[in-house]
């Protein structure tokens, strides 16, 4: 019985969300990126990092978030961003079981983005890997690249 009602509820939810989606934006170099706010757990500053030797190069190490051990990822490296960055903030995101901290430079606004305005990424993107892009959104002055957390967390 309960199972039968669920999809209906879900549909409703997505229907209401049809209009806008909250996105947390942040900077790496001059690039403006965003991830869906529902994936973001918290944003932290300067957490103690423990390096894990032999890990992939985009993995910086692990850290302790109130008793939970998180993997810390160098987001710029992960998406092969060809810009020098000085990351100092932890953007902690969750997808399914995995909790990961992305190192970012600067946090931007939290925006409500109309879903209808989201566009497919162009076939060619300069500066970083296209496969991690979920959607793009044209702001008046610049381009917001919304990243796919799931893709980023794929090992």
């Amino acid at each position: 019985m309960a199972e039968r009602t669920l999809p209906v509820l879900k549909e409703k939810k997505t229907l209401t969300r049809q209009e806008t989606m909250p996105v947390v934006t942040f900077y790496l170099g001059d690039f403006l990126f965003g991830v869906p706010a529902e994936k973001v757990m918290e944003i932290n500053k300067d957490l103690d990092l423990t390096p894990v030797p032999l890990a992939p190069s985009y993995i910086l190490g692990i850290m302790n978030l109130r008793g939970q051990i998180l993997t810390v990822m160098d987001l710029a490296k992960r998406i092969s961003l060809k810009v020098e960055t000085k990351p100092r903030l932890n953007l902690i995101v969750r997808a399914d079981e995995d909790v990961v901290s992305f190192l970012i430079e600067r946090i931007g606004d939290i925006m409500e983005i109309p879903l209808s305005k989201l566009e497919e990424p162009p076939p060619k993107i300069e500066g970083f890997d296209r496969i991690y892009i979920d959607r793009i959104y044209q702001l008046p002055d610049r381009l917001l690249t919304i990243l796919s957390v799931e893709k980023l967390l794929e090992s």
Binding site: D48, T50, P51, V52, P53, L54, A55, P56, I59, I62, M63, N64, G67, I69, L70, T71, D98, V100, S155
Partner: protein, 886 residues
């Protein structure tokens, strides 16, 4: 009388049952025709009756019986559940509750008229119901069997349950009597109290006190995790508080610390279960398996009460089953085969568990045919794990390790029992996943023991903290063997690209942690070595620093680290920082290939050096000639002035410590120039039993650790065992026993009694030095000695008809070593009882155990002439004695 524990279990179960039935009766009131509930009630009542019967609680059994009877009629729809029936059933439940409460307190059933009266009422009621059922349903739908059975029970006097009301009164008296007899004195005392209870506590209000509750395992796991967190938080607080000096703060932190530890331990206990939970499944498995294979197996279970974490118990079930199956299928022989090899037809399989050093050891031991190493070797070659050449050089341990390789199975045909796609490799992996280790000890023809070591619990483990490049790493204590402080420059030996360390003669590959972690070299801080063991091999891990050992909580690492074999998780340290937990198996894989290479090249070297162990020798000069002697033969070194040498009775002597010691000049027995006159001489003393003599020499040159490898061809001369070039000088190795004999033929004579037939000894020894030395002193002692250069030669000598009275064997020999030789010897029927003395320069409990395991009778160190001779005497005495009794 009744086992307390079993009674407790019964009471817990009974209370559970009562609680359940109470709920169900309430349900039943609402829905009188719910068959499911009736069925469930019937089942619960039925098992209560059975359990009560088992304990001999007759009143309880009686009430439960009637209740069950009524319930069965309701269930089958023979009677309608009306108020009256429900009432009487509830009354039954109340009485049962009362009896159970009474049992819990007094351990015996109450003897009260009220209850017996109730039994009579019940009996009558049941009878009435039966008639009603009969009327309602025309003819007998009620199973007559039940009644017949009841009657049978009644006749045996086992049950007070009655079917016929007329008999009830009589029965009532009987029950009373029986019970009174059973509990004479006690009952009388209780009787005085009973009226009070009777009136004071109406049965319906009996409250059963709960001593056990069922808890969701998930809840326990969560508790465990929380306790882990608490431990970490506590550790942090303890560290922080160290900065302050407030005594009150310190005290409260101390008590917080203690409570935390106690809490953690208590919660840990809730997860502990006796290993019997798993062991108890084996009698059945063993029985079925033995039957299907036509084998006879006695299973002995030891230490079933040993407690282990629940999750581990779950996880070892399958590996254990596999090992037990293996033992029966491959280990234990068919009864006929066993009898042929002189064993009882029933095989013995022992499942044993015990605690040792914070770990649990589980052993699966059988007295079957053991593992045929040759067969394993052949198979390994066949499967391409090694080349035939390599296989020859493998140690027993290495050969056995093939069994754990995937794709390996020694069973010639895949049987239904063992060949199910799960190999020993899976067993090993599963046990290692638990942080455990597995090893096999086997003796061909005698049996096999598989030993599993596993940690008590998985969640919190003791670990050693080490550092490399300022980072801390945790190493589970389980894998730790010892700590060594070393100077890497000096103590680490190199062979090609690989490094190793010699720990008391054992070659251990060295892994530099920094390098294993991928840092480039140029790091010289590593001064501490942690010797780790994976169960089969040791590795030396070189780290910067070693800290304390700590209790750590194991936390999993994210998926990005899954394919790095070096880590098994991470943990949060007291200061809130993280440390990676090192995986010892992973580390050893890092050194894996190298180990074998090192061992191999060492083996080769050893074989080239005629596989002999090293000895300290003393080099000394007599005039211009240099001589050598094993240091162990010399009892004392000293200097004497030339004028203290006297001539008494035509012999040169000195007075040394109030004793007259004869002096031997080597030039009198050997073709050498001899000593020029000196002011002062050096003396080498030899003591044998009460006698002492001394050799005069001009100079002590050196002592040297070396193999006793000598050339025997050039100097064939009594008193010389051979020569060797040491530091560009020819050094002659003395046969000191011969020299002393030449000096005084009577010196060594101990009168051997039965001289008529000379005792023959077979000596298996590869080193010419020892061949000569041992032969020399054995011959002096009056034995006939035949020498064989290795185990294989010795076997050939025996096969060609040589029948020695005793065999002496070295261990380290080329082609076939001593252990192998003795093993082979013991399976030959004509030599299975011949006394064997193992002579070696290897010492250590391990070697000793091995030696006796293969079937040797005694064990001595080579240079201990006197002890060797007395061991021989002892063995010969024993063997003639046992021969006499035959």
């Amino acid at each position: 009388m009744i086992d307390e524990d079993i009674l407790k279990d019964f009471l817990v179960e009974a209370k559970d049952g009562i609680a359940k039935m109470e709920e169900e009766f309430i349900e039943l009131e609402k829905d009188k025709h719910n068959v499911e509930i009736l069925k469930s009630l019937f089942r619960t009542m039925h098992s209560l009756k059975g359990a009560a019967g088992f304990f001999g609680f007759k009143t309880l059994e009686g009430i439960a019986h009637f209740a069950e009877d009524i319930l069965s009629k309701l269930r089958d729809g023979l009677v309608e559940p009306d108020e009256e029936i429900i009432d009487i059933l509830l009354k039954c439940l109340d009485e049962i509750k009362y009896i159970v409460a009474y049992l819990e307190e007094k351990k015996t059933e109450p003897i009260e008229d009220r209850i017996l009266d109730f039994l009579v009422i019940l009996s009558n009621f049941s009878e009435r119901l039966k008639k009603r059922a009969g009327k309602g349903e025309d003819v007998v739908k009620e199973p007559p069997k039940a009644e017949a059975v009841e009657h049978a029970i009644q006749e045996e006097g086992l049950s007070p349950s009655q079917e016929v009301s007329a008999e009830a009164q009589v029965e009532k008296e009987q029950v009373k009597q029986v019970q009174e007899e059973e509990e004479k004195g006690q009952a009388q005392i209780e009787r005085k109290e009973q009226p009070k209870e009777d009136k004071g506590i109406p049965t319906s209000q009996i409250q059963l006190t709960e001593t056990h509750v069922k808890v969701d395992v998930k809840l326990l796991d969560t508790l465990m995790n929380l306790a882990g967190e608490l431990v970490l938080a506590r550790n942090r607080v303890v560290q922080l508080v160290a900065r302050y000096t407030d005594p009150e703060l310190l005290r409260s932190v101390q008590s917080l610390s203690m409570v935390t530890t106690a809490l953690q331990e208590t919660i840990m206990k809730t997860r502990m279960q006796p290993i019997g939970v798993v062991f108890n499944k084996f009698p059945r498995i063993v029985r079925d398996l033995a039957r299907s294979l036509n084998k006879r197996v006695n299973l002995h279970i030891e230490g079933a009460e040993t407690e282990l974490d629940r999750s581990i118990i779950e996880a070892i079930k399958d590996p254990l089953t596999h090992l037990v199956r293996n033992s029966i299928d491959h280990g234990i022989e068919l009864p006929e085969a066993r009898e042929k090899s002189g064993k009882p037809p029933e095989g013995n399989l022992i499942l044993r568990a015990y605690h040792e050093g914070g770990q649990v050891i589980i052993e699966i031991e059988d007295d079957g045919k053991g593992i045929d190493l040759e067969k394993v070797k052949r198979k390994a070659i066949e499967k391409g794990f090694v080349t035939a050449e390599e296989a020859e050089r493998l140690s027993e341990k290495e050969i056995l390790s093939f069994i754990f390789k995937s794709g390996f199975s020694t069973a010639e045909k895949v049987t239904q029992v063992s060949g199910r796609g799960v190999g020993m490799d899976v067993v090993k992996t599963n046990i290692e996943k638990l942080g455990g280790s597995i090893e096999i000890n086997t003796l061909l023809g005698k049996g096999t023991t598989v030993r599993i070591k596993i940690p008590l619990t998985l969640a919190i483990i003791p670990a050693l903290i080490v550092t490399s490049r300022e980072q801390r790493y945790a190493i589970p204590q389980v894998s730790l063997r010892e700590l060594v402080n070393i100077d890497p420059e000096k103590d680490i030996l190199r062979m090609g690209d690989t490094e190793f360390y010699r720990l008391r003669g054992e070659i251990i590959p060295v892994v530099r942690l920094a390098r294993a972690l991928g840092y480039s070299n140029g790091h010289s801080k590593e001064r501490s070595m942690v010797i780790l063991t994976t169960g089969e091999k040791h590795i030396g891990l070189l780290v910067d620093q070693i800290y304390d050992s700590e209790e750590i909580v194991v936390k999993p690492l994210g998926k990005w680290f899954k394919n790095i074999p070096l880590y098994s998780g991470a943990t949060i340290m007291g200061d809130g920082k993280l440390a990676l937990i090192l995986d010892v198996v992973g580390l050893s894989q890092f050194a894996g290939l190298k180990t074998e290479e090192i061992e191999r090249s060492f083996e080769e070297k050893k074989h080239r050096a005629t596989a002999e162990e090293t000895q300290f020798i003393l080099i000394f000069d007599v005039g211009e000639d240099s001589f050598a002697l094993p240091l162990a033969l010399i009892s004392r070194l000293d200097k004497v002035r030339a004028d203290s040498i006297e001539i008494i009775g035509g012999k040169e002597v000195i007075i040394y410590k109030n004793k007259v010691i004869p002096i031997i000049r080597l030039e009198n027995y050997l073709p050498i120039k001899g000593l020029p006159p000196q002011e002062e001489y050096n003396l080498l003393f030899f003591s044998e039993r009460e006698k002492t003599c001394a050799i005069l020499c001009s100079r002590i040159v050196d002592t040297l650790e070396t193999t006793l490898d000598v050339e025997t061809e050039l100097y064939k001369q009594p008193g010389i065992l051979g020569h060797r070039i040491i530091n560009q000088k020819t050094v002659l190795f003395l046969d000191i026993y011969k020299i002393i004999e030449m000096f005084d033929p009577e010196w060594f004579i101990i009168k051997r009694e039965e001289e008529e037939s000379q005792v023959a000894i077979l000596l298996a020894e590869d080193s010419p030095f020892f061949q000569n030395l041992i032969t020399s002193y054995l011959t002096q002692a009056g034995f006939h000695v035949e020498v064989a250069g290795n185990g294989d030669e010795a076997l050939k000598k025996l096969k060609s008809g040589f029948r020695p009275d005793l065999i002496i064997s070295d261990i380290e020999m080329p082609v076939m070593d001593g252990l192998e030789f003795i093993k082979n010897l013991r399976v030959m029927p004509e030599f299975k009882d011949i006394p064997v003395l193992v002579l070696t320069s290897l010492t250590g409990e391990d070697v000793k155990r091995k030696v006796f395991e293969v079937g040797a009778n005694a064990y001595e160190v080579k240079l201990e002439r006197e002890r060797v001779l007395s061991a021989i005497e002892e063995l010969l005495k024993k063997s003639t004695r046992s021969a006499g009794t035959l």
